[in-house]
Subunit: 80 residues, 2 copies
């Protein structure tokens, strides 16, 4: 099974990488952009086959290692 | 409008960050994981309202700045 974990900074947390990209896009003439936020997308391939068990395990992995839940939020999608 | 750009390394390109996360998950006892790939998720907020125009513009931004198309692939989703 595959699990996609999207990890992004919480609202209100400064995102310097996003700010830099925003600025660079402006310099290149893309004036339509009003905000840029940059997060991580983690794609896990797992051997297990039970969707509910995989979801619980991936949640545990995310909270233990993949995301810093003090400043980051995350979402998890499980697919075959 | 919002645009979500997912940028990930092409198949076959070594992903050291993913390998490190995979190894760390193994050390923590998560033995079910057979592969980890880590990419970027870029969330753009745009002032324009025409979906087709936004999609074309975001594609140009991605190819110019946000992704390195030599080693990275990307996908774009546009939402209201």
């Amino acid at each position: 099974m595959k699990a996609i974990v999207n990890v992004y900074l919480k609202e209100g947390v400064l995102d310097p990488q996003g700010k830099a990209a925003h600025h660079a896009l402006g310099s290149l003439g893309f004036d339509n952009v009003s905000d840029v936020r940059i997060g991580k997308q983690i794609i896990l391939t797992l051997k297990a086959t039970d969707k509910a068990a995989v979801e619980a395990e991936v949640k545990e992995m995310t909270e233990t290692l993949l995301a810093n839940t003090v400043i980051e939020d995350y979402s998890i999608e499980i697919s075959e």
